[in-house]
């Protein structure tokens, strides 16, 4: 079943057509990668889906409901959670507080509940938060301030923040950018594990071909705002249009 369906999405900034009639379908439980050269419109595409930018035309359906016109926090409450390219965490707070915030927000996105919260429900949220920290192997640092973490750990913490919301769809914007080889590999393993164990649907935007081909079960290639290829990694790799437009002269991947 399709979890996310995007049809004929358009967005232009002045004279620049950033996203041009882009369509894609994300199946439930799959890891779907969106690739393309710099300026292909990947990030704009993500911003349109998440409600950060307003689309000129097109439809975005999540579980059959339209996401267009919703504000970012409303999109989040439907279960679509975004991981940013530069880690967005709460630097002055402890790791556990970082994840507890999103666990609380998920359970009681409504405002009244957070004001008069029952202690027992709060404990449940803290348990969820600890579980999320554990899944990214940061539980032993739970009482540290987030600002003291290394860059790679900050990104993993952000992932934990998102995981403690138990997302239906996880959108990752270059999850391994700026990481060392070792950190990249552990992130890949972690994402694979989440996809397998929790059957979590992931959309990954990525540059690094190694990461893309070790993660993705389905690929969409964007070029100058439009979709030029869509299919399994094997199909895309052998698509002449992709080789010409994006992969240039590189024969071997």
């Amino acid at each position: 079943m399709a979890l996310l369906e995007v049809n004929g999405l358009n967005k232009s900034f002045g004279g620049l057509q950033a996203v041009d009639n882009a369509s894609l379908t994300v199946e439930e439980g799959r890891t779907h990668a969106i690739i393309g050269p710099n300026g292909a419109g990947k990030s704009t595409f993500l911003n349109l889906v998440i409600g950060n930018l307003e689309a000129d035309s097109g439809t975005v359906l999540f579980q059959g409901d339209s996401l267009l016109g919703l504000r970012p926090h409303q999109v989040n409450q439907k279960g679509v959670v975004r991981v940013f390219q530069s880690p967005q965490i709460y630097p002055e707070m402890t790791l556990l507080e970082n994840t507890t915030i999103s666990a609380l927000a998920k359970r009681d996105g409504t405002f009244v509940m957070n004001f008069f919260q029952h202690p027992r429900r709060r404990k449940e949220c803290v348990a969820t938060a600890e579980q999320a920290l554990d899944s990214v192997n940061l539980l032993h640092l739970a009482d540290e301030e987030a600002i003291n973490l290394s860059y790679g750990d900050k990104r993993r913490l952000e992932l934990a923040i998102c995981l403690s919301q138990k997302p239906k769809l996880l959108l990752l914007d270059e999850p391994t950018a700026g990481m060392s080889q070792q950190e990249t590999q552990s992130t890949i393993d972690l994402l694979k594990k989440l996809s397998k164990d929790e059957d979590m649907t992931q959309v990954v935007i990525e540059h690094d071909m190694h990461v893309v081909f070790s993660l993705a079960e389905h690929l969409t290639v964007l070029h100058q705002g439009g979709v030029i290829s869509d299919g399994t990694p094997e199909e895309v790799k052998n698509d002449p249009k992709v080789i010409e437009a994006y992969l240039g002269g590189v024969e071997e991947l």
Partner: protein, 336 residues
């Protein structure tokens, strides 16, 4: 030691008792250092105002320059009630709090749509608006430049218990502890956690499914309510409202008090209020240049101790530990 570093209900009670005893001791302790007993009352009143200010500014990180609105309006409304309706202080405080809470909600709805410096400027503009309203168009009720004197002859009481001298002092101590308790409970709640998250990273919080605008308006409204209670208590204490209480200078004074005490610590700003009032009242008797001295103190706090008075114990502890560690490493150096 663990008891004081981990959050628990028992710790809250201990803090409340200590704070209450501290507030009570002011009346004996102040005259010893050149103050007078009435100054203690004024300190408690201002402490509540600055506490409310810190509940919004310290947690969300938005700098409000309009807290004089709540303070001034609270005092005026309480004055009208006491002069015209009843001499029961509790009723006056309650009605003032309700009316000013509504005002705070409306002001918050408009000003909180902007962020950073624009928000500060908007609150400042609103403050000036209320000040000039009180001076000219509403002179009939506020008595304009001369200040409100309508409640001067009222025998203020709580259900017959006269609220004067010592009684008033104990009542103020009770109110200050109650407000501190409420403020700390708000900070401990999930709601307080969200407010701190607003200060830390608004983007993340928005993409975590929180409508931060609602949270900010709520915090601003609660803060306004604290300001109104303080304003009403000020009227009960002074039986007079100078029109300057609505002016931006009052808002500025609140900011100075909070910074000296330590923004975000809730108890610190209450101490800061005491320090500033002490300097204002005692120092001004000694020298005409007290404003200059206050300015210098404020500046040195911002530069050398941005965490305020409440940061001093932590710094001293760190200093002590640092010396110890240095000593150890020296010994190690000699050994190897």
């Amino acid at each position: 030691m663990k008891f004081f570093t981990t959050d628990s209900d028992a710790r809250e009670w201990v803090i409340m008792i200590v704070a209450g005893l501290f507030f009570l001791s002011l009346q004996w302790f102040l005259p010893l250092i050149g103050g007078y007993a009435d100054l203690a009352k004024l300190m408690l009143v201002f402490a509540i105002l600055v506490l409310g200010f810190d509940l919004f500014v310290g947690l969300t990180g938005y700098l409000s320059f309009g807290h004089a609105i709540f303070w001034g309006c609270g005092a005026y409304v309480a004055g009208f009630i006491l002069a015209n309706l009843t001499s029961n202080a509790l009723v006056a405080i309650l009605i003032a709090a309700v009316i000013v809470t509504i005002i705070a909600f409306l002001v918050g709805l408009i000003t909180l749509r902007r962020q950073g410096i624009y928000f500060s400027i908007l609150t400042l503009a609103f403050g000036e608006m209320f000040f000039f309203l009180a001076i000219a168009p509403l002179t009939k009720w506020t008595n304009g430049d001369n200040g409100y004197t309508g409640a001067e002859d009222v025998h203020i009481n709580i259900f017959g218990w006269p609220l004067e001298h010592g009684n008033l002092y104990y009542f103020l101590v009770f109110m200050a502890v109650l407000c501190l308790f409420l403020a700390r409970q708000i900070r401990r709640s999930p709601y307080g956690l969200m407010l701190r998250a607003i200060k830390s990273n608004e983007t993340r919080l928005t993409y975590t499914g929180i409508d931060i605008f609602k949270y900010k308006v709520m915090a601003f409204t609660i803060s306004g309510c604290f300001g109104a209670i303080a304003g009403a208590l000020f009227l009960i204490h002074e039986k007079f409202v100078p029109v300057e209480s609505l002016r931006w200078t009052t808002s500025g004074e609140v900011v100075i008090m909070a910074v000296i005490g330590g923004v975000g610590t809730l108890f610190g700003p209450m101490i800061g209020a005491g320090i500033v009032l002490y300097l204002e009242n005692v120092l001004s008797g000694e020298t005409g240049q007290w404003l200059l001295i206050l300015g210098a103190i404020f500046m040195s706090f911002v530069i050398f101790l941005p965490g305020g008075v409440m940061d001093i114990p932590r710094r001293l502890m760190k200093l002590g530990r640092g010396n110890k560690q240095n000593g150890q490493s020296d010994q190690n150096g000699q050994g190897s």
